[in-house]
Amino acid sequence: MIEERFDAIVVGAGPSGNAAAYTMAKEGLKVLQLERGEYPGSKNVQGAILYADALEKIIPDFREDAPLERHVIEQRLWTMDNGSHVGMHYRSDDFNEERPNRYTIIRAQFDRWFSGKVREAGAVLLCETTVTELLRDTAGRVIGVRTDRGGGTAFADIVILGEGVNGLVGQRAGLRPELKPDTVALAVKEMHFLPRETIEARFNLKGNEGVVIEAMGTITDGMTGTGFLYTNQESISIGIGCIVSDFTESNRTPYGLLEAFKRHPSVQPLLEGSECKEYVAHLIPEGGYNAMPQLYGDGWIVVGDAGQFVNAVHREGSNLAMTTGRIAAETVVWLKRRREELSKGNLAEYQRRLEETFVMKDMKKYRKIPDFLHHNKHFFNLYPKLLSGAAQTWFRVDGVDKRTKEKQIFQSFRAGRKLTGLIGDAFKLARSWR
């Protein structure tokens, strides 16, 4: 048992845990942070895009020394069929601003840097230490944690759970249910090394400019999911992920999808000659607002992936993690300053504050989307094919007049999906999006 008593124990050293530990330690709270990995970042997996805004609100001058790869100046959105893609690209020199908005990062390096800041701020971090259990008093209040280091315990006024998507501590303690296969995606990613100059030539970049590709379509073979390709300084991160229950039903393997994605004629030339150096897999909570668990209780708060804080539509997660970590910490600091108890009633302030931010507003806005996409698979299979077919008809010059081509395109859509279905899909999508 650690004799000293802490103001707060933070479980996990990912973006949410680090944001919470940093914010509290900077305000003078005595913080103990426990991480099961060998070092912060050793077990943390993401695409990865860093959204500057969320981090700026915690460490305003992070750009001075954070390990950043490339700032994103171009976003490509692709819908793909088996041999082609229809894309929308947005590239702007505005993104070459002094304080760029988005960066590609490598999490093993970034999390280590972030953790260094947390320790500089005064928090004590113990790695290779897994929390096995929450400790409660007779009234059921959470008062500390038990660890796997000889069953050693530590006590604090509050435990902040930033333990990630499959947070077993909270599940075992009955704070939230087990993950359901239809609310969680399984994503796999590879890091492919290429010389800097090759990446810059291939993606039309200079300096530290970067490109992000998000793709959907037949690459997921009818399953709900997306693929991505991000440019780092000397590597490319490429990955694909689908809802777990879809994998179960389809019998497809994640690595099988990734192999096919890499061989796609639109992708293959981008990876040509590269060397795969790393292969990782990760779960992503994509159940959205409806899958969110209780976020606080007597002596505990949940932050980040453990609270299902992911905006699957916009591929945002780490920024929600950092923001929830920061706001949880600010709430704790605020309550402690007022000498108020860290009880369930008082910690409701955490959720109230979240409601005012983009976090809860976005979670609510897209609350119907996960269910909608799960039950409308033609968005991942049929429509991308129709779109590619239409583009081919339209752009191929073959002596057929344009009015006939318009008719052919229209008929291809009607053959694929009845008119009522088309109108219904548009209507349902609009309603879910609202």
């Binding site: 650690i2 004590v124 113990l126 290779e128 660890t147 280091r149 000889g150 530590a154």
Partner: protein
Amino acid sequence: MHIVVCLKQVPDSAQIRVHPVTNTIMRQGVPTIINPYDLFALEEALRLRDRLGGEVTVLTMGPPMAEDALRKALTFGADRAVLLTDRSFAGSDTLATSYALSMALAKIGEVFGPTPIVFTGKQTIDGDTAQVGPGIAKRLGLNQLTYVARICDLDPAAGTISVERRAEGGVQVLETRMPVLITMLEGTNEMRRGSLDDAYRAARSQIVKWSAADAGITELAKCGLKGSPTIVKKVFAPQARAEKVQQIPTSDLSTDALAASVMAAIFQKQPALEGDLLRFAAGQ
């Protein structure tokens, strides 16, 4: 009893790559670990401390980042860590390293109390020389027990220690008087986990940092590149050998016939072997 364990932070050789063009070792981004052999030494020292009482001090020489290795050693349960770090140590070979470490060990004895036992691993995985331990022993006039597999007995009152030493062709049981330097073999014990309190203490411990002057080193000519007669002329990656597979055709599938045709093929390549085996079988 005050025990010192010398350990080294080394690149994780499992993750080292050789640059395909320049043939040099690519150290950038390679994670560092505590030299695995040193962990056996550390665990043995912790066991002695747990049994007999006293303290374990870990000592390393290296760049400031070697602090990570020491902090890890504290997490395992060491009581104190000393980092010997100075620009003048850069480029040290085993001669210069054993000089600097022996000076630091003498200083540790002065400051933190006499050290009847100094442990090292049998060798490092980056240098693989196994010279530094014996070098320290020679400079400090310690008895040395190398390639130790087990500590059999230790009598603090009499100041004696006996160990099993794995030697070529067998195991020696040796006894000597302390102070002694012991280099530990691999596989002799298993590093403990370290309690939560150890981990907490390690995270908050101040690591003692000594420059050359702090350690009482005045002869800088014996340190670093200047004090290192070893010259690395060339580093190269060995070429993969082209192993040949030979198929031995046979029609008779009985065990004896198969064995005979395999042996015939081997004797054809190594004619001297047949005679050796026959003499061995005859008990000569």
